[in-house]
């Protein structure tokens, strides 16, 4: 389940303060901000620049370099589907087509009901049990169309039970 707390400068400052003692603190701080807010909000850039004594361009450069840092809030759950060679050998492309049709989104998109954001990933380290996907922090192996539908349904059912 993704955290999607609305932006709070105060909260962001506290997070920055909690990590500033680290050497090379910017990545750990960006991870912590994204964990709290679900993405790196626009006001985070000038705030980080000011707090870390960097230029805005520097901060923006770092945020945009890494595929993982998002600029907009994701859906409630992130589905990362492996596109790398070992999963390709087991027809991951067919699975991805199925997932796109099933959810009605493209890679990088979020479903209309905000339930799922679908992201491509290059290898999840589960290459002997592909095709692999990761839903939030839960890894799944040997995923086919039917198993995907069951996993997506179970994710929503769990959410309702909570």
């Amino acid at each position: 389940m993704n955290a999607r707390t609305p932006w709070s400068a105060e909260r962001a400052k506290a997070i920055i303060a909690g990590h500033r003692h680290l050497r090379g603190a910017l990545l750990p701080i960006l991870h912590a901000l994204q964990e709290e807010f679900g993405c790196i909000d626009e006001p985070a850039i000038p705030l980080l620049a000011q707090e870390m004594n960097l230029s805005r361009a520097d901060v923006h450069g770092v945020v945009s370099f890494y595929h993982e840092f998002r600029r907009t809030r994701p859906g409630r759950h992130t589905i990362r589907v492996c596109r790398a060679e070992a999963c390709q050998s087991l027809r991951a492309e067919d699975l991805i087509d199925h997932i796109r049709r099933h959810l009605g989104v493209d890679l990088g998109g979020t479903t209309a009901d905000d339930a799922f954001t679908l992201e491509p990933v290059f290898c999840l380290g589960n290459c002997a049990l592909g095709p692999a996907i990761m839903v939030d922090d839960t890894l799944h192996g040997r995923v086919d169309a039917a198993r995907f539908d069951a996993i997506a349904a179970a994710t929503l059912a769990q959410e309702r039970a909570r």
Binding site: R23, G24, A25, L26, L27, P28, L30, H31, G61, V62, F65, Y66, H67, E68, F69, R80, A84, E85, A86, C87, Q88, S89, L90, V121, F122, C123, L124, G125, N126, C127, A128, L129, G130, A132, M134, D137, T138, L139, H140, G141, R142
Partner: protein, 521 residues
Amino acid sequence: MNGQLVTVYVPRDAAALSVGADAVAAAIRAEAKARNLPLRIVRNGSRGMLWLEPLVEVQTQTGRVAYGPVTPEAVPGLFAAGFLEGGAHPLGHGLTEAIPYLAKQERLTFARCGIVDPLSVEDYRRHGGFRGLERALAMRPAEIVAAVTESGLRGRGGAGFPTGIKWKTVLDAAGPEKFVCCNADEGDSGTFADRMIMEGDPFCLIEGMTIAAVAVGAAQGYIYIRSEYPHAIATMRAAIKLAYAEAWLGDGIHGTAHRFHLEVRVGAGAYICGEETSMLESLEGKRGVVRAKPPVPALEGLFGKPTVVNNVLSLTSVPIILDKGAGYYRDFGVGRSRGTLAFQLAGNIRRGGIVEKAFGVTLRELLYDFGGGTLSGRPIRAVQAGGPLGAYLPPSLFNLPKDYEAFAAQEAMVGHGGIVVFDDSVDMARQARFAMEFCAIESCGKCTPCRIGAVRGVEVIDRIIAGREVEANLTLLQDLCEVMTDGSLCAMGGMTPIPVRSALKHFPEDFTRTPAPLAAE
């Protein structure tokens, strides 16, 4: 511990979890409770026989007995068959150690993985853990470095650089401050050995890094783990905490004056951050743009200080070298490839997993004797060895022994030991296209041949696939590959041509097909 309590092992390895290990553990616990049978469940790492996961083991008088792949639904039947005493069952495989896949291996680096409780220092010690470090603490730094050099250990991250020579450079470098950085970015498709050992035997990495620190005089270390590995991150962090609590890390390691502090840092989804200088930039909190070498990281690494950068498998091979001696390790292997490598069988393979063997084992043995051919049951047409920058090899080369030099002679690479299998439904032109696409997406952007060349590469291959001016475009593709090979700063742009050219060389027919008429779908 309680003598009559039966111990059942259910892996906590991410691959095992991906096919339901948690649900199996819960089912075993529930069934035991219902039957009023007290038992102890240990969540171990994986034995590396991934097609059998979840692989449940029961400790019996004669040894550990294996069952797998176990589903929650199969659990009541296992109890009924008396699996707690090692009883026969269709999912049973007898003694784990006697399963041929495992029995035929030479497990040095992975000796404890899947056997111990990954988060028990006591269990680690019981299985020989920290003996290498204890030895190292009693040696002079130069002696430690000499032992690693003599062992013949070469970097397992891909480049195969002698580890001892790298350490000597750092040891000889001046400076009050030095670092040891573990490269756990493991971005290559088809590789998972770093992940498995971090989840299954995390103290082994801590021990290897501490030995490196003592050897070169470093007081601070970082493990850079890719964010796609949440389980490995959690396990390493928990293990580090335990190691501090028992004085295997921190100030005054194991009652000596040595100091070593260790921290996990998390990547952010950039393949290039596995390249060592990009990783150092990332650790410094910057964009992961590759640095020009020289200076080498051993002299000017993290924050400009002398730094050891080693792969997880290089560092986890160090404890046994110090414990059993350089000669013991060196006696495995062939030519200038000494010791063992944890090969990873991945993709369309029936028995995928970890096969730790001495160098010299052939692809054929790995693919058929261990791997059992494809999962689909169709013939193997190609394997990609050594990750996304590695060559695609046809069956005519399967007699090639796994050896750095023998592979290099075929313009191929052993790399991190990953082997991805494809059956005869593979379209090699598409695979070549993917190699270029991957480079275009993951390029750090510093140099033009890589950044722009890869984008052009995708376009050219698209034209070839579409059957447009095939001859001219094939020539263009060869030229492009040459420019990328010669003009790139690092192996990302410099080696992307390898999978492309090997596909062209060994599977030319896939590039000259008349395109299928547009299908209805």
